[in-house]
Amino acid sequence: MKPTDIAAPDYFHKVVDCQWACPAHTPVPEYIRLIAQGRYSDAYMINWQSNVFPGILGRTCDRPCEPACRRGRVEENPVAICRLKRVAADFKDDIRQRLPRPSPKNGKRVALVGGGPASLTVARDLAPLGYHCTVFDADPEAGGMMRSQIPKFRLPNSVIDEETGYILGLGVDFKGGHRIESMKSLLAEKYDAIFVGSGAPRGRELDIPGRKEAAANIHIGIEWLANVSFGHVDKIGKRVIVLGGGNTAMDCCRTARRLGGETVKVVVRSGFEEMKASPWEKEDALHEDIPILNYMMPVAFKHVAGKLIGVTFQKVKAEYDAKGRRNLVPSGEPDETIVCDDVLVAVGQENAFPWIEQDCGIEFDKWHMPKVDPKTFASTNPKVFFGGDAAFGPKNIIWAVAHGHDAALSIHKMLSGEDITERPLPEVQISSQKMGIHEWSYDNDISNDKRFKVPHRDKVIALKDIRAEVELGYDVKLALGEAERCLNCDVQTVFSTSLCIECDACADICPMDCITFTDNGEESDLRQRLKAPSPHRDQDLYVSSDLKTGRVMVKDEDVCLHCGLCAERCPTGAWDMQKYFIDMTHAGSTCPTKSRSAA
């Protein structure tokens, strides 16, 4: 193999698995260390700069970082990254002084359609640069689906108000209760750029017999959740069936439990394991005495005299074809009818752009989705950009934020007369953490603690009050314990070939057998000759140039604990522990903490 080019920004970025997996590339270990030090406001600002909604995401994020977390490859559970984010939000001081000031307007006007996370991120990035940002939303308050679809017992309004408030406070114009009905007339208002972040607002229908006849007691999940959110609905029947296996279904069933649903059941077509809902959301539903019945396909709504009485299901089983694709086929068991008073349909969401006229210069594909460049987020109309669920269908808040950043960068470059396809590389800092002979500026003593559970409110109380937040968040002590579980993967093991005397000290001390000195070879061959098995091909090998004996140093990054023992036991300083901080490129210099990097 060729010697590893550690100067390429992606190499060490990939080693920080959580940051690499995060769509917004939040510097996770950096903020976790700050939490351990009790510097909650600093931790919050690191998050705020990269993911814009730390308090909201710390409660609701889909956490792509956690399955990626190295700790999960070393022991059973990853670090509770998401809930530590909430800790930063919960315990921070007043951070308003640290936010960018509204700056003098540069005369350029940007319209943002929809007041959800994507649009608000664009506004957050562009407003401090002097753009006049106008956000339009049909709802009276900002937040989009974060406010309308996520139940209050998971995400209180106060958190949404606070974090959307920080953005609107940057001099962003918010036009609530103002639905954009026509792209053509919006274009006619001569904005310099338009960003569409209108989400995937339509709940998918379930067109089976009885749907029309029993319509009064069949509700579309996201619409029903929005109605609950805004107080238009405050009760439901005692027996409720929720159809669908995603996170919306989990929100529906738990909400139903709080509005009078005594027997609430979730019924899914697939197996329990393949459900789209996050494992922890399924757990929370089960905890609230909501059974999840699987491999049942709804075939008809049963009704008597216009009144829903139940749903009939066909039993199915999974069969896999030669290509490994799953098909659900009837299992041959008799159909089952489950009685109920109400049904909530949460079988997916769809995009809908009835307000975009065909002659706006915005092309759509055969699935009726706008043609959007995945890097620049530009549509075929150079002035119109898309992001969030509106761009590529339903995803999660953190994706909307990531899209927002990239779209904001495109808008800024376009309005500065630059080529939007040229994307600047991120800014990278790397610095030694050595403080003394065997002293590092980070805590390299590995904690053996198992993942700490987040305390929950007593179930009896939680089920009585739809606005009572279920999760109480870590207290300071639990947060410290959980923060200590972080392996500091951003503190990189950096190897200097010229200093190495091949004494083997690093290979001997490494608790994970990551380091091997051996003859060079092709990657597949080298992976066979390492000290420990190398099952994860997606984890890179760090290969040195030729050493004095003609061998090379090979380090499998896979399960390195970043404990620094290789550097402590190295007599010549050929190994060093260096903190790698990557700052993703955002539009302009949006944050005064840009150069602030906690030691």
Partner: protein, 351 residues
């Protein structure tokens, strides 16, 4: 030295030996020696050898004297018996322990000061008596703990870190061990685990006095130009006569070396050593030949390594003394002291 404990986590895919242990289970405490010390590599090699042999840790007694080398038993086999004895007295303590309980595996760990100076006589007598043990000298040619004076194994003409030339002749412990009748004699280098680990494994399997001289560079005081025990010097002058693989258990030997280059030595405990010859003329069963080979190469400044001599049919001290098979420490009092009637009988037989 490192202040934190070595993390308990280990690679999830680590192989386990027949006892279900990983090599991490054979570790001891974290080393307090200088970073990069050759002794730590020897520690790692002992761990690896014991792991590969699936040795039950409670069946090992590790005994040492005084010095950097003699600290190392604290860093391996944390669940074995240990005795850190007086300076140079490891061989006597080991001999006594071996006589009392012949069933344990004895690992004597010593250094060049401990064995070639203060304990030179002890070393000599334990070897000539044929105590069943693995005697490892971690040889760095320097007194590291007292900051770098020459030891008795430092070569004449080599330079200290301060630039002083050694005018005394060196003791070659391998040559002495051969002369004194050791039945397994080897030399290796801490920077070459590929050679060292199987040597240790083979020595443990050998019944009789096994002696391994391991050159182990002292990073702090003996790894400079002019030293003959530095990483660079040893790598440049290493003249390996053979390399070996230890084959444990009943697996058939499947080594695909060119014919005539592999020599299989069957040991007393049933294990086999496959020796890959590097020097075609070298015969590890010829004690006299080994002695002259060593002397000839030493004169040229070469460091001969590998398995230098082995007598697979060796006898040990217990056979010489005709002791009972049962370890003395488990014999009942009436067996150990059969009473005055038996004494009278013996006395009568001598009249």
């Amino acid at each position: 030295m490192t202040y934190i404990a070595k993390p308990k986590f280990h690679h999830p895919g680590l192989k386990k030996n027949e006892l279900g242990y990983t090599h991490r289970d054979y570790e001891g405490k974290i080393s307090t020696l200088c970073a990069g010390c050759g002794h730590d590599s020897i520690t790692a090699s002992i761990i690896e050898a014991c792991y590969e042999l699936s040795i039950e840790p409670h069946r090992v007694a590790k005994i040492s004297g005084i010095g950097c080398s003699s600290k190392t038993p604290d860093y391996f086999l944390g669940n074995s018996h240990g005795f850190n004895s007086v300076h140079g007295r490891m061989p006597s303590v080991l001999t006594g322990a071996n006589l009392a309980n012949r069933d344990l595996i004895y690992l004597g760990v010593s250094g060049d000061g401990d064995s070639a100076s203060i304990g030179f006589g002890q070393f000599a007598h334990s070897i000539r008596r044929g105590v069943n043990m693995t005697y490892i000298v971690e040889n760095n040619g320097v007194y590291g703990l007292t900051k770098g004076q020459f030891s008795a194994t430092a070569d004449r003409g080599s330079k200290s870190k301060k630039g002083v030339t050694n005018t005394d002749n060196a003791i070659d412990l391998v040559a002495i061990a051969l002369q004194l009748g050791a039945t397994f004699v080897a030399r290796s280098f801490s920077g070459d685990k590929g050679q060292l680990v199987p040597l240790i494994a083979a020595a443990i399997g050998h019944k009789g006095a096994s002696f391994i001289d391991v050159i182990s560079p002292c990073i702090a005081f003996n790894n400079h130009a002019g030293s003959t025990k530095s990483f660079d010097y040893v790598r440049e002058h290493n003249d390996a006569v053979n390399r070996l693989d230890v084959l444990v258990g009943r697996d058939p030997i499947a080594v695909d070396y060119a014919p005539g280059t592999v020599q299989v030595v069957e040991q007393h405990d049933g294990s086999k050593i496959a020796l890959r010859k590097i020097d075609a003329d070298y015969d590890p069963h010829d004690r006299l030949g080994a002695q002259t080979f060593l002397a000839r190469h030493a004169a040229k400044g070469q460091i001969v390594t590998g398995l230098l001599y082995v007598d697979p049919d060796a006898e040990d001290l217990h056979e010489h003394l005709n002791t009972v098979e049962t370890p003395l420490n488990t014999l009942e009092a009436d067996t150990l002291c059969p009473g005055s009637a038996v004494l009278d009988k013996i006395n009568a037989s001598l009249r």
